[in-house]
Amino acid sequence: MQLALVHARYQLLEIIRIPVAVFGSAFFPAAAMIFFVVPFAGDDPVGATYATASMVTFSVMSANIFQYGVGVAEDRDQPWNPYTRTLPAGPAPRFAGRVLAGLALTYLSLIPVVVIGATLTAAQLTPAAFLLALGTVAVISVPFTLMGLAIGYSLPSKAAIVVAQVVFLPLAFGGGLLSAPGDAPGFIETIAPYLPTRGAAELMWASVGDYRVEPLALIMLGVWVVLLAALAAWAYRRDEGRRFS
């Protein structure tokens, strides 16, 4: 555990010494807030709260997919990574450290979205609901962390960047994150429950408002978690650092 914190600390140090990297994962959801949520749903307290929760989900997803997908793949390219694997520690501390650092950065990247939601829209939240939402963020990070890890451990960094980018937009739109709950175009409503983004968004909506989650979306979220965990574990086991053939 001690060692996990050491790993988390140095990973955060490495990231924070290049602040643009932190800025990147916070930018897109913040921009989406300003362009879509503020003008269209900004005046309606309920709509703005749900929309902000959607953007938080979006932010959690993009932060995790990119952080782990691209971060892990790039680390595997660095000779420092194999060196750390010669140190007398198993993969657990480094892995746990990475997850802790990832969670810290996810929360960091949510700050702009939450600040915009609180100041520029009519969104409102009780302190209790806010705490509940904070906890929910950690829960919904799980599927996207696993997805990022699966990408990062199975692909070289250049491919990982592309796959992360290709994956995250359809997941955001297809999961109905860019429309109010139950208000997305017809075909999206049909496919949304089968995407992990929807289950995650439903949990967020339920944490901030009077929203009843759809069981199908939650079941599918569970299926995704199991699937992505298996994929990530397989990719990790197979990995011996960078490979050449």
Binding site: Y10, L13, R17, W80, R85, T86, A89, E240
Partner: protein
């Protein structure tokens, strides 16, 4: 006591057999040099021994256990490639990070002092010179008070002074009872440090002997000439005739040429070339030395023959 061992270890990358049934034992207190040209399989063998890669077949052991088990690695020290240091971290932070993995690490100040890095604690590693980075990389191998250090080409790219500083540090560790396995493609480096040399070429162990014995073999020259008949010549370890040319591998080219001239043997087109390390070993180990072959194809290993520094 055997600290590191490879038993018939092979490693394949796709179609390439990087390591071919290698046997190696490193006992406590030894300073073993792993010598071979680039691409010979030295790094692959190191990677197997430190648990970075699995052998495709055969076995590797570290302190009697599987190197992939973290507990087996508690008493080893490894050097990262100098280019692999995280550029944004400071020298002190890198040392602290590695220290955190060991129960009784060498204090930071003491370690940095020993490797002449004391003034650089606050510098980011990305801003260090190549030599400083290399020294830091080697220093990291000693953080955890290891019993065995594995150094993969520790002084490649260093100037002479920096190389000697590192050699001193490695010697000091060995004098205190430490065990060292170091790879190099410089014969000079292995001669300066090691007592025992393991020569690797094309994924196989070609020789495992004392430095003196290996130096004798590596000093082989190729003397080639056109002549019909040769007298008995001194120091010839192998003779072959290819397309009318005679190729003699000899440990003493000067003496051989002197003997040729003294015997007044008619010959033309004399050439003396150094053999590469690999060539010398393959030529000598692949079959009947001292047996003149009158016809016959050139052995594949003897076909190269570019002057190569070893």
């Amino acid at each position: 006591m055997t600290l590191a061992r490879a038993l018939q270890a092979s490693r394949r990358y796709g179609d390439v057999l990087a390591l071919d049934r290698v046997d190696l034992e490193v006992s406590a207190g030894e300073l073993v040099g792993l010598l071979g040209p680039n691409g010979a399989g030295k790094s692959t063998l190191m990677n197997l021994l430190v648990g970075l890669r699995r052998p495709s077949s055969g076995r590797v052991e570290l302190f009697g256990g599987d190197p992939r088990d973290p507990a087996s690695r508690r008493q080893i020290g490894v050097t990262p490639q100098e280019t692999g240091l995280p550029g944004t971290l400071r020298v002190g932070e890198v040392v602290d990070f590695v220290s955190a993995h060991y129960p009784d690490p060498v204090p930071r100040a003491e370690l940095l002092d020993r490797f002449g890095l004391a003034d650089l604690v606050r510098r980011q590693t990305g801003g260090l010179s190549g030599g400083q980075r290399r020294r830091l990389a080697v220093a990291l191998a000693f953080v955890g008070r290891p019993r065995l250090v594995l150094l993969d080409e520790p002084t490649t790219g260093l100037d002479v002074a920096a190389r000697h500083t590192l050699w001193d540090a490695i010697r000091a560790f060995h004098d205190d009872g430490g065990t060292v396995l170091l790879s190099s493609h410089y014969l000079e480096e292995v001669e300066a440090l090691a007592h025992r040399v393991v020569v690797i070429g094309q994924g196989r162990v070609l020789a495992d002997d004392t430095v003196d014995a290996v130096r004798g073999i590596v000093g082989v020259r190729r003397v080639s000439l056109i002549a019909d008949h040769l007298p008995d010549l001194p120091g010839v370890v192998r003779t072959e005739r290819v397309d009318g040319r005679l190729h003699l591998l000899t440990t003493d080219a000067d003496e051989l040429v002197r003997a040729l001239v003294t015997a007044q043997t008619p010959f033309t087109d004399l050439e003396v070339r150094p053999t590469s390390l690999e060539e010398a070993f393959l030529a000598i180990t692949s079959g009947d030395a001292d047996q003149p072959t009158s016809t016959g194809q050139p052995a594949p290993a003897a076909a190269g023959g570019q002057p190569t520094t070893v």
